[in-house]
């Protein structure tokens, strides 16, 4: 399984990689150290052996030399004892020299430092009579002085031989007889005093006091300087040093071998490691590329167990489905499958379990609930019990397919449902396509038409020539744009009219491959045209039947384009063609329009121009006129006007308006009555209270049980109530003041007309008649119209009420108005009722006095106040014919102006 890697792991890996190298290095170093240690120990051992051997050699040499000293001493003693002659000396010396190879000469030197005897006899170095050289005498005398053997310096004798001399003194008693000298050849000492195996192992050298090599046993073989040992040679004691140096042994090469092998093996290991690393790096690179491929793939990649559970998923899941790839492992694949596709998916998974690779398309649910079409390709690996799945998001393709399918279906449906017949012919005139509408139109099956050549089966035999001509024109590309109108023979022999429109048929490469004809059955349109015409006639009949006058005029020129019968009958039958302004009365003025109709453009339409009532100044009739700006059939902007005669309706409206006005006045009167009632009630309260307090006091005083303070309090309360009553009265006065009248010039005849019109309602109820006798040309009076109207109304009603006891035919009330000179007008209301008695008359104007059951007793009082306010007088008189006359005067406008001037 490939694994994810990141930089941290890479770093670690790199570190891991250095570890083997370091380990190998440490191992090699350790091994080298070990070898070095072993060798060092070896050398040490060797050195010890050398020391031992050298000490042994030195000892051997010393023993030899002591033995020689012994021999020489014996000879000296013999000589001193004179027991030795020359021959004997010779024999003994030669014999000894022969046995001891290191000795080259034995000489007896006389005390006069001259050689007396010398052996061997053939020696040339020491000749009888030779004096001692200077450096020899020092040892000679030392031996004499010490009385025992003394060694001289080693030196190179004239025969070029390095020699060492030992001097043994010869004494006879106190007499010094010279010395026996033994001469060692240093060279021979080295060669002969040590055994031969020593030569095998070491190079033995004798070093002088100043360190130069005096003699060596061998010089040819390589020596190992590191293994050497020096020891001072004693007895000579004059600086001779014996030194042994081991020869370089044959085991040198094997000693290097371990080191070489260690180094060699280490190198091999490192090389192998490097090879391994390179290999692993290559592997890692491959894995990384695979991971990158896995992670960067735009397709969904995943590994799923055969049990259908996600093992691994790539990040594309997050991009396409929105589910994090880290969440998916452990979830079943079916979790994300659209519920409808689950059985199908299960089927596919079963096939996978059988080891077959599958490929299918299903919908999968994203986290946000949307569904994606995914094209899955899955390969099972049975031995791993895993499947490797690749899914490609084909939602877009699916949508496109769906759209394409829908488009195709739609086109097909359109083609089938279109009612225009389509027919295509190739350039030779052969039919290559017909749609079903065309088949329906001509009644032939599609198979019968396809591939047929002209003359086509639907050509009517009677029109063949025309058809040929049309076809020729078509194929030449000269078919008229408006198409051909052709008669078509249906299969069942019927004929129908059709219109063919031709257009070139161009294929996708842009080449013309034929001609496409669309055929429309125009039988029905012909019938419709006829129907339309009759509908138009009906419409005209309706319009003409209207009572309202209808016209249509060009908005710009004002020319009448259409007028109905009513319009023509009002404004003349030659109206069409003339201008509205010229014929129509009444009509709105230009200023009545919200915009000038002449400036209207089609964009402003439709628009209301006028809606109002106009009076014909000639006939006096009222018309409701509505004008609309609209678009005429030819696209022009026109004014369309409808004028309805509303004279009757208007009169009715006028009557109802007057009635409403009267009602308003009635309610005003009622309000006044209510106010009076309320005031009466309010006055009742303090008055009753005052009476009660007073009577209570009276009762107590009479009963004799009156206490002053009680009475006082009651009387105070009574006076307080009296004040309260006073306040109420004041309020009444203020109310009256508030309803200050507004006076102006008033035609008294109009006032009377209004009042009488209103009172007539009552009069009719009471079966009374009101006669108005108003003098013509009365001057206008200066008065408040409403107030005077109320006074008249009140008086008229009183009069009518007064006559209620009379027989109906006598119930006539006269309202008379006449001028009293230029400055006053008198109005009189004359009834024929029961009249007013003398006593009644005195109380007539008392407030709240009434003779009526429903009355308040305020009417006449108020009337008088009103008239007096107008600078007039209200007078009551007996009617000489029976009944009463109430009359009042009002100043004329002129009079009041003068009065005003005077006042000013």
């Amino acid at each position: 399984m490939p694994h994810f890697s990141d930089s941290g792991r890479f770093g670690q890996a790199r570190w891991y990689w250095t570890a083997p190298y370091v380990a190998v290095g440490i191992f090699a170093l350790t091994m080298l150290a070990l070898v070095w240690l072993l060798q060092a120990r070896d050398v040490e051992t060797q050195r010890n052996a050398v020391a031992r051997d050298v000490q042994w050699a030195e000892q051997t040499m010393r023993l030899h030399m002591q033995a020689t000293e012994e021999f020489l001493g014996q000879a000296a003693r013999d000589l001193a004892a004179d027991a030795l002659n020359l021959d004997g000396f010779q024999v003994r010396a030669n014999q000894y020299i022969a046995n001891n190879g290191e000795l080259v000469n034995i000489v007896w030197v006389g005390p006069e430092e001259v050689v007396r005897w010398s052996a061997p006899f053939d020696t040339t170095d020491w000749l009888q009579g030779d004096p001692l050289s200077a450096n020899q005498t020092e040892a000679f005398y030392r031996a004499r002085d010490l009385g025992r053997a003394a060694y001289g310096e080693a030196y190179m004798n004239p025969r070029n031989r390095m020699v060492l001399e030992v001097y043994v003194p010869v004494r006879h008693g106190r007499e010094f007889l010279g010395a026996i000298v033994g001469v060692y050849s240093i060279d021979r000492m080295v060669r002969h005093l040590v055994p031969s195996w020593f030569d095998e192992k070491y190079r033995l050298t004798l070093l002088g006091a100043n360190g130069d090599t005096l003699a060596a046993n061998s010089g040819v073989r390589a020596i190992d300087e590191s293994v050497s040992y020096s020891i001072a040679l004693d007895p000579p004691g004059n600086g001779l040093t014996l030194r042994a140096t081991a020869f370089r042994t044959a085991s040198q090469l094997p000693q290097m071998l371990p080191t070489a092998m260690i180094v060699g093996l280490s190198v091999i290991v490192l090389w192998t490691l490097w090879l391994l690393r390179t290999h692993v790096q290559r592997r890692v690179q491959v894995e990384k590329e695979r991971d990158r491929l896995f992670n960067l793939s735009l397709d969904l990649l995943c590994i799923v167990g055969l049990d259908g559970v996600f093992r691994r998923a790539n990040p594309a899941f997050e991009r396409i489905l929105g589910c994090s790839p880290d969440d998916l492992p452990g979830r079943p694949l079916l979790d994300i499958v659209h519920a409808d596709d689950v059985p199908f998916a299960v089927d596919q998974l079963r096939r996978l379990a059988d080891g077959q690779p599958v490929s299918f398309e299903i919908r999968c649910r994203g986290v946000d609930g949307s569904f994606k079409w995914l094209d899955w390709s899955i390969n099972p690996v049975r031995e791993e019990k895993l499947v490797y799945a690749v899914a490609h998001d084909i939602t877009g393709r699916k949508a496109a397919e769906e759209a394409l399918r829908a488009e195709t279906t739609f086109r097909k449906a359109m083609e089938e449902s279109v009612i225009t017949g389509m027919r295509a012919i190739d350039l030779t005139g052969r039919i290559i396509y017909v749609n079903s509408a065309f088949c329906r139109m001509v009644g032939f099956e599609q198979e019968e038409l396809l591939g047929s050549k002209p003359p086509f089966p639907y050509w009517p035999p009677e029109d063949l020539e025309q058809c040929w001509q049309n076809l020729d024109l078509t194929l030449q590309g000269r078919a008229p744009v408006s198409g051909f109108e052709m008669r078509v023979r249906r299969k069942n022999g019927e004929r129908l009219d059709a219109r063919f429109y031709l257009s070139p048929l161009i294929d996708s490469t842009g080449t013309q491959v034929g001609w496409m004809a669309s055929a429309t059955d125009i039988t029905e349109p012909k019938r419709i045209r006829a129907a339309l015409e009759s509908a138009h006639e009906r419409f005209e009949a309706v319009i003409d039947g209207l009572d309202a006058a209808v016209f249509v005029a060009d908005a710009r020129t004002d020319e009448i384009l259409f007028a109905n019968r009513a319009f023509k009958s009002i404004h003349g039958f030659d109206a069409v063609g003339r201008t509205v302004r010229g014929v129509a009365v009444p009509q709105p003025e230009r200023g009545d329009y919200p915009v000038d109709p002449r400036g209207l453009t089609p964009a402003d339409l439709p628009r209301e121009l006028f809606d109002g009532e106009l009076q014909n100044p000639l006939s006096g009739r009222w018309y409701h006129v509505r004008e609309h700006a609209t678009r005429w059939v030819d696209g022009r902007v026109v004014r369309m006007g409808i004028a309805t005669d509303v004279t009757e309706r208007k009169q009715t409206a006028e009557v109802s308006r007057q009635q409403a006005e009267r009602l308003q006045r009635t309610s005003r009167l009622i309000t006044m009555g209510e106010m009076a009632s309320t005031l009466a009630h309010e006055l009742n309260q303090p008055l009753s209270a005052i009476a009660n307090y007073c009577m209570g006091c009276v009762t107590r005083i009479q009963g004799g049980n009156a206490r002053d303070e009680d009475l006082l309090s009651a009387m105070q309360k009574a006076s307080f109530q009296a004040e309260r009553a006073g306040k109420i009265i004041r309020r009444i006065r203020e109310f009256v003041k508030k309803s200050e009248p507004r006076r102006g010039a008033v035609q008294i005849s109009e006032v009377l007309d209004d009042a009488i019109g209103f009172a007539e309602i009552d009069a009719r109820r009471m079966s009374s008649r009101i006669v108005s006798e108003v003098a013509p040309d009365l001057p206008p009076v200066f008065a408040d119209r409403i107030m005077i109207e109320q006074v008249v109304l009140n008086l008229v009603k009183n009069g009518i009420d007064a006559m209620s006891d009379l027989p109906a035919e006598h119930r006539v009330l006269v309202v008379r108005a006449r001028a009293l000179g230029p400055r006053a007008v008198e109005v009189a209301v004359i009834d024929r009722g029961h009249g007013i008695g003398e006593e009644e008359r005195s109380r007539l104007f008392t407030p709240f006095y009434t003779t009526k059951t429903e009355g308040m007793g305020m009417g006449l009082n108020i009337c008088r106040s009103i008239i007096e306010f107008h600078d007039g007088r209200l007078i009551v008189d007996d009617n000489p014919e029976g009944g009463t006359i109430f009359s009042f005067t009002l100043p004329t406008e002129i009079a009041s102006e003068r009065a005003a001037v005077r006042r000013a």
Partner: protein, 212 residues
């Protein structure tokens, strides 16, 4: 007017009027005449104080803010209060007052009224109330006594009231005349009647009063 001192000391005149001056002056007037007076500023205030044991009479203003006098009157009748009621009306309230009288109020008096009329009317009311109260007490007493009778005594009493003679009673009930006489004597005793006429009158009155 000391002779007008009211007969029963436990009778109160209840005045309900929203106008403080009128109420206070009326209290003054009536107290001057020796009446006991209680005044209320509204119908609601009166109802809050009201109980069936109240005696005397009511003087109501017809027009009041809130519950009107007429409405209060109707409410009291609904609560089986039988106190006599006098309405005070202002100008124009007369039709209203008339309808109240038709519904059982004693009378109405129009403002501004004379104190004489008012006092007479009140005296009349108090007398009537006292009488009716005595009657009601007697009725209640009779009813209570009736409950003390045994079944047989009650049967005998019913037959006596039906005007039957002892003999007829004995026949109807199937008992001896002697026994009837014993029952009869016990009925008279229990009903505390002095005469047969009183017994019959009381029982019948009680029956009517209790709505039998």
């Amino acid at each position: 007017m000391s002779e007008q001192q009211s007969a029963a000391p436990d009778q109160y005149i209840h005045i309900v009027d929203d106008d403080e001056a009128l109420r206070d002056s009326l209290v003054w007037l009536l107290e001057s005449s020796g009446h006991r007076v209680r005044s209320y500023e509204s119908a609601e205030a009166f109802l809050a104080d009201f109980n069936l044991a109240m005696t005397g009479c009511l003087v109501l203003d017809v027009r009041m803010p809130g519950m009107s006098g007429l409405e209060l009157f109707e409410e009291l009748r609904r609560r089986h209060c039988s106190l006599p009621v006098i309405f005070i009306t202002g100008h124009g309230d007369v039709p209203m007052a008339v309808s109240a009288v038709k519904k059982g109020a004693v009378d109405f008096i129009e403002k501004p009224f004379s104190e004489r009329d008012m006092l007479d009317l009140i005296a009349e009311c108090l007398a009537a109330e006292q009488a009716s109260r005595g009657r009601r007490q007697l009725e209640a007493e009779t009813v209570r006594r009736l409950t003390q009778l045994t079944q047989r005594e009650r049967e005998v009493l019913d037959l006596i009231i039906a005007g039957k003679l002892n003999k007829q009673i004995a026949d109807v009930l199937g008992i001896s005349i002697k026994t009837v006489e014993v029952h009869r004597a016990r009925v008279m005793e229990k009903m505390e009647a002095n005469s047969l006429a009183e017994l019959v009158q009381n029982v019948l009155a009680a029956d009517v009063g209790q709505g039998r």
